[in-house]
């Protein structure tokens, strides 16, 4: 294998591993805000207990997200130097903006969130949590924006003098609001919220199965389950469906490739499960008639352009794309269905609490959810191949020209070992945290809640400062 192939594998590995964590930071973070608001309104201490518990889990997730995120920023220059030279003007500025606007927001308030339970009053603590979660979303916004520019580039011109050729910005707002940006952003946000709610729901359901912390778990589930149903359903019905329309309009070859549609068809079928034979250019499997036409054009008789329409344009690896895409397409509705089933069992005389089968289904949703969003991200990235900037720059042209295959092999080996270790440690510690369960409030609270500063005025007031200085001297 040459440096390019190894770099592709390494980038896919590191990006996929990183992508386990940010959606949880957003989704679990949102749920933490919800719990915090409920505590604030009800003053029932059980919600405060849950906040302490989930903040600790959040800290673990966030640390891994940060640790693996830096890798992504460095890899553009390390493995994809020609790509970086080509897109620096456009893509680099979005990445820098992410740093200035989002990372500092997260980094600044994370300490307050993780350490603030005993230092800040409930209102300020909730505010800190909100700011971290806001920062996580803000960060994702810039990344999706940059990636959307790679999918549907606009607002630039190619300058060749002096060498090397590069994309130069002509209109900043066109770069920001590319055609695919907002639909993709909404889809990713909603998917992340789904996974975050799934984590909370899974852990609550597991406690109910094991008959531990039962009252707390019931309360937690009553918040997580409706949120999960809402996010999962809305994402399938509105934002997922909208994604099909967006790809149809902006990247029709990608749509045809995702579905293995070799020739144009009216009333085009959509597969539930299938296999693409790329040598004979045939796709077979179980399909629903006319569904693809309906999703793409909201008209069952519409003609969907096949791969042949775009010849001789280069195509992505069709079967791989087909499989990851269909995994997402099947799992999305399945997750929503599990949620609805759980909701119905709850409404039916609270049978959910005793149904081991349904509770077990709820436990696995977080793993299924993670697999589903990863396959969604793969669909977006594999579907763009062989381009790195769609129809402008091929991935193969973007690789660093001086890179030795042996060096990449070494780094790939290092990442495989390091990330395996991290994954094992992460799961071990997460499991420990969950096994230990929420601690008693008396064990985590070291100060009287009412004595903690709960407004910025409390923190920065002159009297407070005078008292502190007095203590220090």
């Amino acid at each position: 294998m040459d440096a390019e192939q190894l770099s592709r594998i390494q980038f896919a590995l590191t990006a996929s591993f990183h992508f386990i964590f940010p959606p949880l930071s957003m989704g679990l973070g949102l749920m933490l805000v919800v719990i915090g608001v409920i505590y604030f309104r009800t003053k029932d201490p059980k919600w405060r207990r849950l906040s302490f518990f989930w903040v600790k889990v959040y800290g673990l997730i966030f640390a891994l997200g940060v640790a693996t995120g830096v890798v992504q920023e460095f890899e553009f220059g390390m493995n994809w130097a020609n790509y970086s030279r080509f897109v620096g003007n456009v893509f680099g500025s979005l990445l820098a903006a992410e740093g200035v606007f989002a990372f500092f927001l997260e980094g600044g308030f994370l300490g307050l969130m993780l350490f603030g339970g005993n230092r800040l009053g409930p209102r300020l603590w909730l505010f800190s949590i909100f700011m971290v979660v806001f920062g996580a979303h803000f960060s994702a916004l810039w990344i999706i924006m940059a990636n959307s520019w790679m999918q549907t580039p606009q607002g630039y011109t190619i300058a060749t003098d002096p060498a090397p050729a590069r994309a130069v910005m002509t209109d900043f707002w066109e770069v920001v609001f590319t055609k695919s940006f907002i639909p993709r952003l909404m889809h990713v946000f909603m998917a992340s919220w789904t996974v975050g709610a799934a984590l909370m729901m899974s852990v609550s359901a597991w406690y109910l199965l094991k008959k531990r912390h039962v009252e707390l778990a019931k309360s937690n589930l009553k918040v997580a389950l409706p949120a999960f149903i809402l996010f999962a359903t809305v994402n399938v019905v509105i934002f997922g469906a909208n994604q099909a329309v967006e790809v149809t309009q902006n990247q029709p070859l990608k749509l045809a490739s995702m579905e293995g549609l070799w020739e144009s068809e009216s009333c085009a079928r959509m597969f539930v499960i299938g296999w693409v034979d790329e040598t004979t250019q045939t796709t077979s499997g179980i399909s629903i008639p006319c569904l693809l036409s309906f999703l793409a054009y909201q008209d069952i008789n519409a003609t969907v352009a096949g791969i042949d329409t775009f010849a001789p344009a280069p195509i992505p690896p069709i079967n791989l794309l087909f499989q990851v895409y269909h995994f997402m397409i099947v799992m999305g509705p399945a997750l929503a269905a599990i949620g609805v089933l759980g909701g119905l069992m709850f409404l039916w005389k609270r049978r959910l609490y005793t149904s081991r089968f349904v509770l077990s289904l709820l436990v696995i949703t977080v793993f299924l959810g993670e697999a589903t969003i990863t396959s969604g991200w793969w669909t977006a990235e594999i579907g763009r191949q062989p381009w790195v900037v769609y129809n402008v720059l091929e991935t193969a042209e973007g690789v660093s020209p001086v890179l030795a295959a042996l060096d990449v092999l070494l780094s790939l080996g290092m990442f495989i070992v390091l990330y395996s270790l991290l994954l094992v440690l992460f799961l071990y510690l997460l499991n420990r945290k969950i096994q230990d369960g929420p601690e008693e409030l008396e064990d985590v609270e070291t100060a009287e809640v009412s004595s903690l500063p709960d407004t910025f005025r409390d923190i920065f007031s002159r009297r407070q400062r005078a008292a502190d200085l007095g203590e220090e001297r």
Binding site: V70, M78, A81, G88, A97, L110, V168, P401
Partner: protein, 339 residues
């Protein structure tokens, strides 16, 4: 002042911000194993940086993003040319993060002391690597006519670069030690205070060696100071700041000493930046291949957009940073909610 010059200055300031802030938490890491004896003391060390290390590291991420946006050709050449070195930087950065995050999640002694050694070693490793990278940037790299750098990892380990690496580690130990003086009390404070003179003298000697080596062997950097004498005020001010830090440490005024050592780090970096200007990476093959603040830069409109982003964003950055340090000011208390 052109936009390119302004961005060069801002880039130096961002890297200075990184070295000042992540410098003290690397320093705390370097001193963790030698100075903190039992678990409570180690937790005091770790909790002193607990609420702020993540924000500190963001400065490096910001530096990388700014280099990518503003000087993409330098970003691409440097990161791909020093591939394995940056891979090691990533390795130790990840190890630092996870060691800090994982060590207090279990109560076993073996578990904790293992992670403490990992954290301490990775902090030292990161300081050395950053220093070696900086030493190589100062000495120049083999940039070819296409802007590519081909150099093996071993070839980066020149005596000069290693000297800069060790000096950087000592500089962070000074910075971290002074930070710990603000955060500790009692017996632990006394022990750190007793170690400080040795650490500071070590740094001073090493730094003097670096300056001598630069004057003797790195004339591309010192030439500017010979052409134009006024920039000498920057290294001179750095020396004065170190002297002031020494005095404040002796008087037990840790906060003032910390401001002085922070100023010293910034002044040293600015002194290096002045020597490099207008090059970002000096070519050792042919000066015409050097990547400069003009030939490696993005187009003017990108520099403008990036500047607008910085003008809007940086006040917030400074506000959060100041706010967090203010809230977590004073001596570190180890409680069950921390590391």
């Amino acid at each position: 002042m052109s936009l390119n010059e302004l961005w060069f200055a801002l880039f130096v300031i961002i890297i200075a911000g990184y070295l000042i802030l992540d410098g003290f938490d690397m320093g705390v890491g370097i001193l963790l194993v030698p100075l903190a004896k039992d678990d409570t003391e180690r937790r005091t060390f770790l909790n002193s940086i607990g609420p702020v290390w993540d924000g500190n590291e963001v400065w490096l991420v910001l530096g990388g993003g700014v280099l990518f946006a503003v000087f993409p050709l330098a970003y691409a050449s440097l990161f791909s040319g020093l591939y394995l070195a940056f891979m090691l930087v990533l390795l130790v950065m990840i190890l630092r993060t996870v060691a800090l995050e994982f060590r207090s999640k279990e109560s076993g002694r073996r578990w904790r002391s293992t992670w403490d050694v990992v954290f301490s070693g990775a902090s030292l490793g990161l300081a050395l690597l950053l220093g070696v990278a900086f030493g190589n940037v100062v000495a120049g790299l083999p940039v070819d006519a296409n802007g590519n750098i081909s150099i093996s990892l071993i070839a980066l380990l020149t005596p000069f670069a290693l000297l800069v690496g060790v000096t950087t580690a000592a500089m962070f130990a000074v910075q971290g030690g002074i930070y710990l003086l603000m955060k500790t009390e009692g017996e632990l404070y006394d022990r750190i205070a007793r170690a400080m003179p040795r650490i500071m003298v070590t740094f001073f000697v090493l730094n003097t060696l670096v300056v001598v080596a630069m004057v003797l062997f790195q004339q591309q950097i010192t030439q500017r100071y010979l052409d134009d004498i006024w920039p000498v005020i920057f290294p001179a001010a750095a020396l004065a700041a170190l002297a002031a830090a020494w005095l404040y440490v002796r008087r037990g005024q840790a906060f003032r000493a910390f401001l002085c050592s922070s100023a010293m780090i910034a002044l040293l970096l600015i002194s290096g930046g002045i020597g490099l200007y207008p090059n970002l990476i000096t070519s050792t093959i042919d000066p015409a291949n050097s990547l400069t603040i003009t030939n490696a830069a993005s187009a003017q409109n990108t520099l403008e957009v990036a500047l607008i982003v910085a003008v809007i964003g940086m006040p917030f950055v400074l506000l959060y940073t100041a706010g967090v340090y203010y809230i977590f000011r004073g001596k570190t208390v180890v409680d069950p909610h921390g590391y």
